[in-house]
Symmetry: C2
């Protein structure tokens, strides 16, 4: 195998497995090359990733030495991605009676889900997240992509009790949109005791769902390390949860969508 | 920039954007290199991808020339991936009263979702799929990954009518698990007229949901190119839809999960 081919293969494998540690042995066996050659190859990949700003390749030396790729999104790239999403929200055909905005197609689009997941994973990369948790349905794609980039499992909170989840832990919460008491459920077959979780959801107005998800995490013994919400309305200013990171702020004065203004939240 | 770095960068970009055509101009500008150099680099990436069996890099020459990466999964890799999933299903703690098997965690795990999506995308890569469609909830991750690999949007069919979807098209279907008539909904803001769609779902027993999804696609003027279901029960042998591709067959004679046998369906 040529050196150039080795570099392409190492790039492909690291790129497909973000935040996963590969031993040097793995690459020396796969590529039929010596450790010093692999080290040189990895240094090239590291440099290439730095040039295009897609994250850092870290290496550990010693007997347990290895390589890991941490994806990162620069602030300018983040602004570019979120600005594109924010512009889409303003399209008049998205307005739904009652002041809602149709955005299911945006979050279900793999390109946007992938980019949003990359942004969120980049924000929480140093927090030791062990689980990404979301509630059905529209936030699932972005949560999945975040979990993929962080290399952790995703836990799915259900809005109704399903026989296929087995025994569940449930909490009640106040749904902001309907102002009714509802219930959310998590299968007891997911063990989150002591786990550091990141909560992701697609939309927040009053914060009732996020508060419910936080309570549910407390019930099952998880540690909430962060709450990241893709779309957050400006009003009401006071939300039921204190610490959360919005990506895009929706400011809709006249509540019919026609006066929607969007802005990015950067921290 | 060194040639080695260019190769790593081209690999990263093609890997992150499967089935997306990049012009040579894109790479010559990004890499500040001549077209002949980029052509040589792409040839190396093509060769590297062939060596590790991750798919084909195709090039088009001429003024509109470009490069595209089509991910592929070999039969042996597919068998390895699905065999691992099948073995997980047999774990005794997954049995739920009523003969159900808990597998929400498997399909929500980004690694499995990614691999299953890669497998499905590989099967349908030459069918000109323009949309992947799934119904909530558990099949969403695999459907999203399939759409990501095919580079097409994902359409989400809802099991209840949500105000945030706006006006919907709905069809009734018979849910096999409850034997009740239920309704599924697709937002009318998704335009599938004349679109070639691939239907993906996580589970099939009688085929009622798949038939409902097929009817819904007919209602909105889409052309169903395929139906791919991750887990399909062996019984009943006669399903309500004729043409579908299962990935894993669940054969559960005694209907309490204890006698579950799993097998792979290869076509």
């Amino acid at each position: 195998m040529k050196k150039n081919e080795r570099i392409s293969i190492i790039t492909k494998i690291l790129s497909d497995h973000p935040n996963e540690v590969f031993s040097y042995n793995y690459f020396t066996n796969l590529l039929d090359a010596g450790k010093s050659s692999v080290c040189e190859d990895v240094a090239i990949v590291k440099s290439a990733f730095r040039i295009i700003g897609v994250g850092s390749v870290e290496t550990f030396s010693g007997a347990t030495g290895g390589v890991v790729y941490h994806p990162e999104v620069s602030t300018s790239e983040e602004v570019g991605i979120l600005d594109e999403v924010a512009k889409l929200l303003l399209e008049p055909w998205r307005r739904i009676q009652g002041g809602f905005i149709y955005y299911s197609d945006i979050l279900s689009n793999p390109r946007y889900a992938q980019n949003i997941g990359r942004i969120i994973a980049s924000k929480y990369r140093d927090q030791g997240i062990e689980y990404v948790v979301t509630s059905e349905t529209k936030g699932i794609p972005a949560a999945l992509e975040t979990a993929r980039y962080l290399n952790v499992p995703m836990g799915l909170i259900r809005r109704s009790n399903r026989v296929t989840e087995g025994a569940t832990t449930s909490v009640n919460y106040i749904s902001g949109s309907s102002n009714k008491i509802k219930t959310m459920y998590l299968s007891r077959r997911i063990d989150l005791i002591g786990k550091k979780v990141l909560i992701i959801d697609d939309f927040m107005k009053g914060g009732g769902t996020a508060k419910g998800m936080t309570n549910l995490m407390e019930e099952v013994g998880a540690k909430v390390m962060g709450i990241c919400i893709i779309f957050v309305t400006k009003l009401p200013v006071e939300k039921l949860v204190d610490n959360f990171t919005p990506l895009i702020i929706m400011d809709d004065d006249d509540m019919d969508g026609a006066g929607l203004k969007v802005s990015l939240y950067s921290k």
